[in-house]
């Protein structure tokens, strides 16, 4: 058997990360910063001031054509007819069995749409879309010519405002405008994955490094390590952990982005049938009572039997305690329910907690 070796790709900001003394790791085929000054310090910087993230590994695919809305509706679980131009919406694409292929954000422009997907699923999703694409729809996978920089934190707007030519007050949560950042034209959107207020800047690949070098003067660079603790405290799902092709969106408590009555979409009938039969699992937040730390894959017990599994777990830098997102039987979703986490053969006490674990500065609605 021949062995295929692949060299990880580098973003246009790779040298910026080395300048900031990042520890680099291979993530979804990309050489990305895992941490700079330390996960706890970076996490705290985002919660209290502002942090800067390189998300250029993520996928961006533009869709255009007169039937683009209806076509995207036929692949996407959420209802894109509900958003206006200049707004974005979160949802999933599923296969015929109603299992999750990826979760994503779709942006509505005047004459096109932009699908933003996970790096690990980009090729799969672009291929899936191409397979379903009618001749009059045009797809343009812009992933490898688009850098993505996020600035997140309570001071994100104040810092970014000095470097953009639009009024950020005019950008609502999950809204976006086209504008210049440090003189560079791109898309500026009030979205993020940290629970804090903040923006994501879609920029031309090479030139983005200049924008990073300007913003990093005022915002701490943040690696994937703190990105994970921030999203976990915010209760956000991560594909490959809370979401996979083994489950429907309903199993991950994503019913709120699965609009079964909006019209037909791939996977809708299977999800509808599953819902009528009874959804088996849900996603909950767990907080440990002691100091031990729950980790992905640890079994969960209640009433003497296994009732689920940890999908992501970590030490929460804000709560200074172990927290987890977990897939459990639907009967155990109530806040306060006691569940035991099996850690190296011992059962440790935990409780179902309201999500998000930590309420950041994000201005929803």
């Amino acid at each position: 058997m021949s062995q295929v070796t692949t060299t990880p790709q580098r973003t246009a900001l790779y040298h910026c990360h080395l300048e900031s003394k990042a520890k680099m790791v291979d993530f979804a085929g990309w050489e990305m910063p895992i941490e700079y000054s330390g996960i706890k310090k970076e996490h705290e910087a985002v919660r209290s001031k502002a942090g800067l993230f390189d998300l250029s590994h993520m996928g961006e695919c533009f869709v255009s054509g007169s039937g683009a809305l209806n076509w995207l509706q036929s692949l996407f679980t959420n209802d894109l007819s509900k958003i206006e131009v200049g707004k974005a919406q979160y949802g999933c694409m599923c296969n015929e069995q109603g299992r999750v292929l990826d979760d994503m954000i779709i942006y509505r422009f005047q004459d096109k749409w932009m699908v933003v997907m996970n790096a690990s699923n980009r090729e799969k999703i672009v291929h899936w879309m191409e397979k379903h694409k009618p001749a009059d729809i045009h797809m343009d996978d812009a992933s490898l010519r688009t850098s993505l920089i996020a600035i997140q934190g309570p001071q994100a707007q104040e810092i970014l405002q000095k470097h953009v030519d639009i009024d950020l007050e005019k950008v609502p949560y999950y809204g976006f405008l086209e504008g210049k950042s440090c003189g560079l034209a791109g898309i500026i959107s009030r979205t993020g994955y940290t629970g804090e207020d903040g923006f994501e800047l879609y920029l031309p690949w090479d030139e983005a490094a200049a924008v990073w070098r300007t913003l990093v003067q005022e915002a701490e660079p943040i690696g994937l390590g703190a990105r994970d603790t921030l999203r976990l405290e915010s209760g956000y799902a991560l594909y490959g952990h809370e979401l996979s092709e083994d489950i429907t969106p309903l199993d991950a408590s994503l019913g709120w982005v699965t609009k079964l009555d909006k019209g037909e979409f791939v996977g809708r009938q299977a999800i509808q049938a599953y819902k009528e039969k009874g959804v088996q699992r849900c996603l909950v937040g767990l907080e440990m009572e002691g100091r031990s730390i729950p980790r992905e894959g640890y079994p969960l017990h209640a009433g003497g039997k296994q009732v689920g599994v940890v999908t992501s777990g970590t030490f929460s830098p804000s709560l200074k305690r172990g927290i987890a997102l977990a897939s459990v039987e639907t009967g155990l979703r109530a806040v306060g329910t006691e569940i035991e986490v099996e850690i190296r053969g011992r059962n440790e006490r935990a409780r179902v907690t309201r999500l998000p674990f930590v309420k950041g500065s994000v201005k929803r609605g």
């Binding site: 520890k23 895992i34 941490e35 330390g38 996960i39 706890k40 390590g225 994970d228 603790t229 002691g290 100091r291 031990s292 730390i293 980790r295 970590t314 030490f315 830098p317 172990g322 190296r344």
Partner: protein
């Protein structure tokens, strides 16, 4: 960065031998690779250590790593700041002072002579080179 007077394993534990008692911890290199340490699980006093066998766990924010004993012996003391029941619980001591306040266990060793067969500072330095 690598104290001359200690002995080391390839798994990044260090040993400070005084008489027949070995103080054991993890190296500066190990704590730097792990990042912020947030939890340590250590055995109780009386636990029988076996060379190369697991005696505990150290967890950073992002990873869980096993600790392997550099010696045969019996645990006689554990560092109280690493005990999860302690009011002074301070696992970051391992990051701040891996060779000092961040020591993990003390053990009465079966064969003090065996410690000299572990890596010396020079041997450990070449083991971690290129990382």
């Amino acid at each position: 960065m690598i104290p001359e007077e200690l002995r080391y394993t390839e798994e990044h534990e260090w040993v400070r031998l005084q008489g027949d008692v070995a103080e054991i911890g993890i190296t500066h290199f190990a704590q730097d690779q792990l990042g912020d340490i947030v939890f340590v699980e250590l055995p109780a006093v009386g636990f029988k250590l076996q060379t190369g066998k697991r005696f505990g766990v150290v967890e950073s924010v992002k990873t869980v790593s096993e600790l392997y004993s550099p010696v045969d012996g019996e645990v006689v003391e554990i560092n109280s700041v690493l005990s999860q029941d302690s009011d002074q619980f301070d696992p970051e001591a391992v990051n701040r002072e891996p060779y000092g306040a961040g020591w993990m266990i003390k053990a009465k060793v079966a064969d003090p002579g065996a410690v000299s067969k572990l890596l010396d500072a020079k041997g450990y330095a070449s083991h971690t080179e290129g990382h």
